[in-house]
């Protein structure tokens, strides 16, 4: 069952409870444990590295590990490969999940039929601090750097239908095409992934000029070069990347002229654990992260123009038509009440003209309501600029966007209740172009001197 609002973004980690501890751990100069270092010594140089965060997904971790190992055996028989399982404080769980790997992979296969030439290494890394995706990724990047891995991927145990082919598809462009960042593409039903469709993708595409549909995903690939660059950056202590470091990594790649591509993986099924059901938390993790990335990578996009299509392996997108069980009326009511309640805050964020238009549509009847795409883009750009100028607390600012997104979602659901996937795709493309068209507006507001209101 998809999460409310059709958002596909489901993280593997619970909301951080001990942020200060995470911050301290990420700031440590030496964050690799002696035990992990000892395991890495045993592995030596590798060609391929696949990392997983197994925290809180022990039940599905063994499936993920087997899929990775089978991928190595089927698709990369000659390459030196390692699986890095970061289990965030409970190594025993990670080990338990990994137990039986060799049994399954090796003992049931007669030697003559075995495809694996090499040992498939598996190392398990734990950290004493509370788990965070950033710490797990940093551990994986450090392993990749120390082992001089050429091609790497991260996959999620929360994805229950991960196949060996997915791993191969993520790694091959790096091995064969010298790509540095590989983003996934999934089959979606048409009301799934609306946050990506209406905000994350078109905005990142317009601003960074690179077309990556799934900037926030649980599966992606990257080169050893990119791993080394990201590892050396001084961003690990920044809160916005703690939970969704993958987008920061992607944007770091896009901002530094690393080559990127997208690969089609197919339909994704996943467990429903994590913060995906809490739209506010999802906004903090994704939109907040994107806004922070715009801030931290501004030199890379401020002077950029239109986006260019990137290389894609497989279909560019695939939508299936399925009925939506979302409660539109409730969404509209939450939009209306939210905007009303946040009136003072919105006035400090939005341009007066934008704010006036928002207020005018809030008063519309539900049946006549429509959130125009040009207004939505302008609203978002106002939010981005205000985030940049820190007109209010940035976390509050991101949360204030949630009611407006609900309005857009309601409008989208109504407009496309009977649309075909092709029609929806055409509309989405129009939204992307609107983001690109209004980019000068964002640039102007970004560079403007703003008086911060208290």
């Amino acid at each position: 069952m998809p999460p409310p609002f059709g958002d596909h973004v489901v993280g593997s980690f619970r909301i951080l409870q001990f942020e200060s501890e995470v911050s301290r751990a990420l700031a440590e100069d030496t964050f690799l444990t002696d035990d992990l270092l000892r395991q890495l010594m045993g592995v030596g140089e590798v060609d391929l590295l696949v990392g997983i965060y197994s925290h809180s997904n022990t039940s599905t971790t063994s499936h993920t590990l087997r899929a990775i190992e089978r991928s190595f055996q089927q698709h990369f028989t000659r390459q030196r490969a390692v699986i890095v399982n970061t289990c965030g404080g409970d190594k025993d769980e990670g080990n338990a999940a990994a137990a039986g790997l060799s049994n399954v992979a090796e003992k049931n296969v007669r030697l003559a039929e075995s495809a694996s030439l090499r040992t498939v290494h598996q190392v398990t890394g734990d950290f004493s601090a509370p788990p965070s995706a950033a710490m797990a990724l940093r551990t994986i990047l450090a392993a990749a750097d120390l082992l001089r891995a050429r091609a790497c991927a991260v996959v999620s145990p929360a994805t229950t239908n991960l196949t060996p082919d997915w791993i191969a598809n993520l790694l091959r462009p790096i091995c064969q095409e010298n790509v540095d960042f590989v983003a996934p593409l999934y089959t979606r039903h048409k009301f799934q992934g609306l946050l990506a469709r209406n905000l994350l993708y078109p905005m990142s595409r317009a601003i960074f000029g690179c077309r990556i549909r799934e900037l926030y995903s649980d599966e992606w690939g990257f080169s050893g070069r990119l791993a080394a660059v990201c590892l050396s950056q001084d961003a690990w202590h920044e809160e916005p990347i703690w939970t969704r470091p993958e987008a920061w990594m992607a944007i770091s790649a896009l901002s530094s002229d690393f080559r990127y591509c997208q690969v089609f993986l197919g339909q994704k099924l996943q467990t429903t654990t994590g913060p995906g059901t809490d739209i506010v938390e999802v906004f903090r993790q994704t939109v907040g992260n994107l806004f922070w990335c715009l801030e931290s990578h501004q030199s890379a996009w401020l002077d950029g123009e239109r986006s260019e299509p990137g290389q894609t392996f497989g279909p560019d997108h695939e939508l299936t038509s399925e009925a939506s069980d979302l409660d539109r009326h409730r969404i509209f009511e939450m939009f209306r009440s939210g905007v009303t309640e946040l009136e003072p805050i919105l006035s400090s964020i939005l341009d007066p003209e934008t704010h006036a238009e928002i207020k005018s549509i809030v008063s519309l009847e539900e049946s006549k309501f429509k959130f125009r795409s040009d207004l939505w883009v302008r609203t978002l750009y106002d939010f981005v600029a205000s985030y940049h100028h820190a007109v209010i607390n940035r976390d509050h600012l991101v949360q204030a966007l949630v009611p407006l997104y609900r309005g857009v979602t309601f409008s989208f659901l109504v407009e496309h209740s009977d649309s075909s996937p092709a029609e929806m795709e055409a509309v989405s493309e129009g939204l992307c172009l609107e983001f690109e068209r209004q980019k000068p507006y964002l640039r102007e507001k970004w560079k403007a001197k703003v008086e911060v209101k208290s």
Partner: protein, 546 residues
């Protein structure tokens, strides 16, 4: 000397494989002979080997390097006489060296008198000594072994207007073991050589002795019955002699040829060989561990024979397609190096003449379970000539010195049975016995010390093996144990320095003594034992509790 009279002598042996033709020419006709070989026995004694395996030396048209025999109880005139052989045999025995000869049971040459008689008419008494058919569809589906040269296992005989069965070249008709007279005739052949004093036979092409419709015509129960019969006769009349099986099969299939200790005394472990090469190239112990874990226990009186290279191609029959492609890509990138399903190269060129890798592989050969076989010339790092056709590139004259014909012969170079290797890297001016004898750090000197060390400990030939499982998969470590002898072997399979931690708690309190230098290492304790190894370095530690 107790070991010299031990009926299990083959378990402690270090066997040296050679062809009389290739070793030393005493009469300047360009072809090696028994007199020349006898003259070189002191070299072999000095090398430390304890047995010689002679490739076929029987009269033959030599269309398959002597495996096409025309007379089982004589010596090919090019190699000398029966008296020369007897002299050689006595001289070898006087030096404590045993002699193993070839027994080609499966087939003869089509020039053998038996076959000439058999094809002469369908009524001839020898007709049924071979396998005949009026069609070429019997035993359909049976694989062809020499895929590069043969298209069928049947060949048409225009004389008797019938097809005859051959698993190898068409000029090598298979004998019919369903005819008891064939077995009796071959037992007479064996007795002839046993009475002369040979110490063992290497039985060629064993899996193919018997044919049955609807089967792969390999490893059939009837074949095992034949072997048991011959073994029984051998043990009764000639105790202490041995039978060595050539069966290029998986260990579990070869295991059957040991029976209950009543078939072969020893058998080649074919699948291990390519995996040693694979492990070194992959820098990963997995291929070796995998195959040895699949190798079943064998009776106490039996032994595996292991080798790196031999007179044939480096066979890739016992690997899967992925492994074969890998071996080709890594060791035979020039397709001229490939033949049948294998690689026709010698050890040193395959190792790019890297002394460290050559030593590592020989170290593995001498320390793994089984009796090692050294192919002539590999002890000095001889090269090959892949342009000579068939597998002749690994059968060139032994390189004794830097003089004309490498000291192999005083005949004109044009008269030699094969040109001597003469290139700048492996030519006889560079690679030869005399120069390596004079160099303290030569491969030959090193091989002598390695063999001497192996000969000093029965554990290598008879001991159990237990693999350690350090996290560093570039390191292959195992413990050999036999009685009071315990040896820890640690091999770095990689081209770079490695650190490894070994769990040797069960040997807590033992003192490791590095066996080449006799140096003491820190005593083993409860903690993981840390070792660092240079590229391709290996250690042999004798573990002593003092």
């Amino acid at each position: 000397m107790a070991r010299q009279t031990d009926n299990l002598w083959y378990k402690d042996a270090v066997i040296y494989q050679l062809h009389v033709r290739t070793f030393c020419d005493s009469n300047a006709d360009g072809i090696g002979d028994f007199t020349g070989l006898t003259q070189r026995l002191d070299y072999l004694k000095d090398l430390g080997i304890t047995a010689i395996w002679l490739l076929p030396f029987y009269p033959s048209p030599l269309r398959d390097d002597g495996y096409d025999i025309t007379d089982y109880v004589s010596v090919h005139p090019s190699y000398g006489s029966l008296e020369d052989f007897q002299t050689f045999l006595t001289a070898a025995h006087n030096r404590g060296i045993r002699v193993i000869i070839e027994m080609v049971l499966n087939h003869t040459s089509d020039q053998h008198p038996w076959f000439k008689e058999a094809r002469s008419s369908r009524e001839n008494p020898k007709r049924d000594w071979y396998v005949w058919s009026q069609t070429d569809t019997r035993y359909e589906g049976v694989r062809i072994i020499f895929v590069d040269t043969e298209t069928s296992n049947w060949a048409w005989d225009p004389v008797s207007k019938s097809y005859y069965w051959h698993r190898f070249f068409s000029h090598q008709p298979d004998l019919n073991f369903d005819n008891p007279a064939v077995l009796e005739a071959l037992w007479e052949v064996m007795k002839f050589w046993l009475n002369l004093g040979v110490d063992g036979f290497r039985f060629d092409a064993i899996p193919y002795l018997v044919e049955r419709e609807g089967t792969p015509c390999e490893n059939l129960p009837e074949t095992h019955a034949i072997i048991r019969d011959l073994r029984k006769r051998l043990d009764l009349a000639y105790p202490g002699r041995m039978l060595l099986a050539e069966a290029n099969n998986w260990p579990v299939d070869i295991r059957a040829y040991f029976g209950d200790g009543d078939e072969f005394h020893a058998a080649f472990h074919f699948p291990l060989m390519p995996r040693m090469f694979m492990s070194v190239k992959l820098e990963d112990r997995k291929p070796i561990i995998d195959i040895l874990e699949q190798t079943p226990e064998i009776p106490n009186n039996c032994q595996w024979c292991i080798f790196l290279r031999n007179h044939d191609e480096l066979t890739l029959e016992m690997v899967n397609d992925i492994e074969r492609d890998y071996m080709y890509d890594e060791y035979a990138v020039d397709t001229t190096m490939r033949i049948n399903r294998g690689i026709r190269r010698r050890l040193a060129p395959m190792m790019d003449n890297d002394r460290r890798r050559i030593e590592l592989l020989n170290g593995l050969l001498m320390s793994m379970p089984g009796t090692p076989i050294v192919y002539y010339g590999d002890e000095i790092g001889m090269g090959d000539n892949i342009y000579l056709g068939d597998r002749n590139g690994v059968r060139t004259p032994m390189q004794w010195n830097g003089e004309t014909n490498a000291g192999f012969s005083t005949a004109d170079p044009e008269r030699l049975y094969s040109p001597v290797i003469s290139n700048a890297v492996y030519g006889s001016q560079v690679i030869n016995v005399d120069s390596q004898k004079r160099s303290e750090h030569s491969l030959l000197r090193w091989m002598k010390s390695l063999i001497r060390l192996r000969n000093s400990f029965q554990v290598f030939g008879r001991g159990s093996i237990r693999f350690l499982d350090p996290s560093n998969h570039r390191v292959l470590a195992y413990v050999r144990q036999f009685g009071e002898e315990t040896v820890l072997v640690v091999n770095n399979l990689s081209s770079s320095a490695q650190a490894v931690e070994l769990d040797v708690r069960r040997f807590k309190g033992y003192i490791p003594i590095e066996m080449f230098g006799r140096n003491l290492f820190p005593r083993l304790g409860d903690l993981p034992y840390l070792l660092t190894l240079g590229p391709y370095q290996f250690y042999w530690f004798q573990l002593r509790r003092i």
